[in-house]
Symmetry: C2
Amino acid sequence: MKIVIVGASGTMGSYLSNAFEKEHEIVRAGRTGADVKVDITSSYSIEEMYQQIGAFDALISTAGPSFVGPWKNLTAETFRIGMDGKMLGQINLVLIGQHYINPKGSFTLITGALTHDPQKNFANASAANAAVEGFVRAAAIELQNGIRINAVSPTVIEASPQYFPFFPGELPVTMKQLEFGFRKSVFGANTGQVIKPY
Amino acid sequence: MKIVIVGASGTMGSYLSNAFEKEHEIVRAGRTGADVKVDITSSYSIEEMYQQIGAFDALISTAGPSFVGPWKNLTAETFRIGMDGKMLGQINLVLIGQHYINPKGSFTLITGALTHDPQKNFANASAANAAVEGFVRAAAIELQNGIRINAVSPTVIEASPQYFPFFPGELPVTMKQLEFGFRKSVFGANTGQVIKPY
């Protein structure tokens, strides 16, 4: 299976790339340190990425900046960070990528428990995650040719201990759990689901 | 109570304005036919609106354009309609309005069942609604001075029969049910809730 991983140089993306490359052809995409450069905040850059890659069977996204910081600094301007990044960036990966993906292919996007379990400093990610999950459910009834779409929604992940203090009461998701969440989406048959890998 | 209703000339906004004006001071805001003009896709216009209105006790939003139409016409460009309108428009009403609202005031935004029950042609609204609901939950733990925030999430409403064919299997929400959903948010004590008025 030819699998595109967007955000491949990040903590989650590099783990998943390594885990899946034993059995699959992996195309690493990202802003830096990847096979194919892409800035998901630009639909032009996304289109270019897909033209470089050609047909593929699955896309995994672990990408998406959002604004993290005190509520008083969350303004109409800073809110745009998560909207253009984690939200529209990932949604555009699908809206554009549907024209390049093979029949019966799949898109798997990253969201997070903040959708329903907010934490201070992360309102921008709560909104972006929720939007992606709403989009996933809606896109699942629209996509043609057996193309599937799901989101994987972890809590804080064990490989990012710097975030632990911001997520009181959240048992970190192990990297193996995270990997298996993505496995369920990519190699299973579900669509329109928000997969909680814990 | 001084209540600002944004989208006051729309189907929902005019009903709510009439229902609430018997007992409260209503400020009708909207793009047209309102006491105060506002274009919620512009944070500058929102700021101007609040400066005109001064302190208030509750804001109700029934405003928010989104792209409705065939999936094939949903692109990176058309997706922006719901993002700048129903999503960021309503979110900016809160981010900016929190500096004008009285202590213990409330914001009540409009979402809809499409968040969890998608229908064809409405993926843009599914994402926008979901984002607003994620934001509402997150903002509820951040807002200061006892300020509350909720969303009201109806299905298709009885006063908009032109939408019935697009919502098979959805029992239309009556205008009285809708009104009482907003009453629960404005006059109750809940915060961070998505109120389903059915």
